[in-house]
Symmetry: C2
Subunit: 239 residues, 2 copies
């Protein structure tokens, strides 16, 4: 693992507060690996041996059942994923594949578990991280159960705008088919939902979204802090 990786990882809320010594031990046991695009690096059901940290590239977390598949999250640098499985020493509930070429740091789950047993600050960070992740999934589930696909798209567009400083225009951060799957709909349905939002202040140009009428869009989206989670500190995590 590169020298410049360590300070990046150290900045993560999960690792920020632990002792320097423990951080050193943990990262000494870790190693970095590069993966080409479209590689399935984690298969659901396998034992969780490593906490993964994306340093570069984009990772899709997805799950399959029978012939179906759904995107659970899209992870970007610098964030960790599949923490819960590592902690429980249980099988991964999700698979992971690279969307583009990635560099991933892998921290042995065994060392992780050993560390928060002895480092109270790390234990605290882990608690906080897990609670955030939990709340994040709950919010997403609420969105799935309470909103129609059109409303979910509207809410997503507005949220992205907020993340870009309330920009009226931004580029979608991932392929539409991934986004559609994440939002719980087919690509066709997503496409039509966006189109139907033209009458409510959304224009599209390829990957670019332009909000032409915030008020109208907000009326459709019905943003809610308890679903969309903006403005609540430390709750940006997704896995």
């Amino acid at each position: 693992m590169r020298d410049e990786d360590k300070p990046e990882i150290r900045k993560l809320p999960l690792f920020r507060d632990m002792t320097g010594e423990n951080f050193e031990t943990l990262t000494r046991a870790a190693y970095a690996q590069s993966f080409p695009a479209q590689l399935e690096m984690i298969r659901q059901g396998e034992p969780a041996d490593f906490l993964h940290v994306v340093m570069e590239g984009t990772v899709e977390l997805f799950s399959g059942w029978r012939e179906r598949e759904t995107t659970m999250a899209v992870v970007r640098p610098v964030s960790s994923f599949i923490l819960a499985a590592c902690i429980k020493d249980a099988p991964y509930l999700m698979s992971a594949r690279t969307i583009e070429k990635c560099r991933i740091v892998m921290i042995p789950a065994k060392d992780l578990r050993a560390t928060f047993r002895t480092d109270p600050d790390f234990a605290m960070s882990t608690i906080s991280e897990l609670a955030s992740c939990y709340r994040s999934v709950v919010r997403h589930t609420k969105s799935l159960k309470l909103r129609s696909s059109r409303e979910r798209v509207a809410a997503y567009v507005l949220c992205q705008s907020r993340l870009t400083g309330n920009a009226a225009s931004f580029i979608l951060p991932m392929e539409k088919r991934l986004l559609a799957s994440f939002l719980g709909m087919t690509p066709e349905n997503f496409s039509r939902a966006v189109k139907s939002l033209q009458s409510d202040g959304v224009a599209v140009d390829g990957m670019r979204i332009i909000i032409t009428n915030f008020e109208a869009l907000e009326a459709v989206a019905g943003l809610d802090a308890l679903i969309d989670g903006f403005g609540i500190s430390g709750e940006l995590n997704s896995a």
Copy 2:
């Protein structure tokens, strides 16, 4: 709070491993309260001041958005709920109401947070609990996104059967309309889904479910450890 409550709470995985002294401190600050049926005891959006523990009765966790409402979980004795909100000192993401008369022990969130800062064993239990809750929601989300409503009902029936020692017959543990909402469908749709499963080995008599053909039902349900979570130790929690 009653004397006989303490040992019951102490048995929970969350409190099992902490020091006796800390447990005493925590429960001294706590108090029990009785609620009549159909009382909304927690409203989503309010600050999370107390960890709740159901001692008697049944509690529904639900969320609302616009005029819609959905059941997120149903909690029975003896379990805690809304741990994550307490930890993050953040607003509740879900509301809670009593299904029937309840006795609830309420532990101040402030004391909780103070305790796992000083008690490493309690911190460990909290980590484990949160990781389980997280995985539980992820599994439920997978079920919602990957299965049709009919398949969800089939899977639910089989899971309940397993929980009853693979009994061919059991009583539904909650009203059908609650179950329907929890499974992400309308009561009408639930009713029809059950009926349509008659041809796949499910019979109904009021609240009683009778499985007449396990093989056929399993073929529909496609039970999966990574969704239905059976057999994975310590992963029964839901909130």
